[in-house]
């Protein structure tokens, strides 16, 4: 049963992946001007014969379906093309920048989860109290705040006014070289960007945790727990909280793509040297190959993480029928 489900999900993921690649190809083809036009524009125009030769060399004169097939088979070999601006294969560029983005993403998701659960529990344990409405209103406010603006406001507060945290970059230039001080230095640089990126998701987790806990409080097993004389504290933390966390895990998978998108603006604001600022550079140097490569690899990441979460979910809660 489990095995069959796995195969089916993996098959679906492959189909989605191929379709995403086709969408990418379509965008590349619909874009005004092809690679050769860009190169020609760069060198200030060339004669038509030379352009024709170039098109032949890159296979741009062949029928569309041949080009699509070529594109797909390149992707299968993880060949994402060449970035003419950075003079490097796109894959290598992305792999170089990926660790910084992963560090930023996972630290902010950890902050968001911990904060969201804490505030959600605090709100749900006293519904409609002052504390609850304070938390809920703050969450809604955080929900309505553009990430990049929150980042700029934090810079004004903590870097400009108080001067306690660095406002950009990932490490101090010419900083100390031993491993401990490097870790301390990078963590200090990580604080503001990860809190900025976490704000929005903390708000969604808070709201979901609150709603999920209020649902669980109405269930029979909670009534039983209360009836056998457990304190409200025990009921909340032993019975309600563990059962309320499940929906948060699936939200995590759904939001991964949006966190990747959010990291673009946050990385640009804080000069964090990750995929987001790479995308930003690609954007302004009109490096479409690189941009598409980032888009494709991020989609692959989303698919893989969601597959993993599906598995984790059925392992955490065996009641969930994986076939459904």
């Amino acid at each position: 049963m489990m095995k069959r489900y796995l195969v089916r999900r993996a098959g679906q993921a492959v189909v989605v992946l191929i379709l995403i690649a086709c969408v990418n190809f379509l965008i590349l083809k619909l874009a005004p001007g092809d690679l050769v036009d860009v190169l020609a524009g760069e060198s200030g125009g060339s004669d038509p014969h030379y352009l024709h030769l170039l098109r032949e060399q890159y296979g741009l004169d062949r029928p569309l379906y041949v080009q699509l097939f070529q594109y797909l088979s390149n992707l299968v070999q993880l060949d994402l093309g060449y970035s003419f601006r950075f003079n490097m294969p796109v894959r290598d560029l992305i792999l170089m920048r990926l660790p910084a983005t992963l560090l930023l993403m996972f630290s902010s998701l950890a902050i968001a989860l911990l904060g969201g659960i804490t505030f959600g529990v605090a709100a749900a344990r006293a519904p409609r109290s002052l504390r609850d409405s304070l938390i809920s209103t703050t969450a809604l406010l955080a929900y309505s705040t553009p990430l990049f603006w929150a980042g700029l406001m934090l810079i004004i507060l903590f870097s400009v006014k108080f001067g306690v945290l660095p406002s950009g970059g990932m490490a101090t230039v010419d900083g100390p070289k031993d491993i401990v001080s490097i870790i301390v230095d990078v963590s200090r640089h990580l604080v503001l960007p990860s809190i900025t990126l976490a704000l929005f998701y903390m708000a969604t987790y808070t709201r979901l945790m609150r709603a999920s806990m209020l649902d669980i409080y109405n269930m029979d097993f909670v009534r039983t727990a209360k009836a056998k004389g457990l304190t409200p504290h025990q009921v909340a933390y032993r019975h309600v909280v563990p059962n309320s966390i499940l929906p948060l895990i699936s939200l995590f998978g759904v939001q991964l793509g949006s966190v990747l998108g959010g990291s673009v603006v946050v990385e640009v604001v804080f000069g964090w040297p990750g995929l987001g600022s790479l995308a930003f550079d690609a954007l302004f140097q009109r490096d479409v190959n690189l941009l598409m490569g980032i888009l494709f690899l991020s989609s692959v990441m989303v698919i893989l993480v969601n597959l993993a979460i599906d598995l984790l979910y059925s392992w955490l809660d065996p009641r969930i029928e994986v076939g459904a």
Binding site: V16, V160, V264, R286, N306
Partner: protein, 277 residues
Amino acid sequence: MIARSSFIQRYFQSRTGVIGLIILTLIIVMAIFGPTLYPVDPWDMVSRPLQWPSFGAEAPLGSDVLGRDVLSGLINGARVSLIIGISATAAAVAIGVTVGAVAGYFRGLTDDALMRITEVFQTIPNFLFVIVLVAVFRPSVFTISAAIAVVSWPAVARLVRGEFLSLRQRAFVESCVTIGMSTPRIIFTQILPNCIAPVIVTSSIMIATAILVEAGLSFLGLGDPNVMSWGAMIGFGRQSLRTSWYLTLIPGVAIQLTVLSISFVGEALNDSLNPRL
């Protein structure tokens, strides 16, 4: 069937709903009549650069690096934000309702195929996808709205599909099929009106999200270069963040207030359209 009067009564029971509606109305009025009542060109140099907000006659909310009036930018930006928020959402709802209705009504292979396509658009990271689309097709109010619509329709499609899957099997739909009503007529006049409420609630959230996305785009320099928008103002103001932080603060608060008021309205609509408590 919900009686109209009771719906309005329920809406006005929500305090935040009323506050949201008032703020939103003010912003809409500002967007429509502002440029006529305060005819200052947001691109013109009207005072000396980087003048702090004085609330006087000249540049009441201050001026930016190029001496452009912040208040005028705020008023014109409201227009851009609302136009993009509403048109992107309208397009996304149109696509989403169509796809969801067809998938949920016909089920089987059609449903499978449409859901795979929906999944594709849901998997590609939204904001990155919008950036790529806008960058490739050149930024304008139209391409920005279209790009936001392209990434936001799947939510509506899934919602409408779910409603259709359950409504399709109800007796009133079966009887319509039995008396030989045409399929489009069943879809549009019988099933669709029954799932309007959740679609309205989702659209209000989508308008808010679209406004945030547009702000992010124009902050990155991917806004329509011919119109002044709030995100672009923050982008311009960022260069003088350390000294003139009001340039960043003011448009940011405008975005926050707009999105917050829309969320308040959306929540109140949700509570009054599907009373569960």
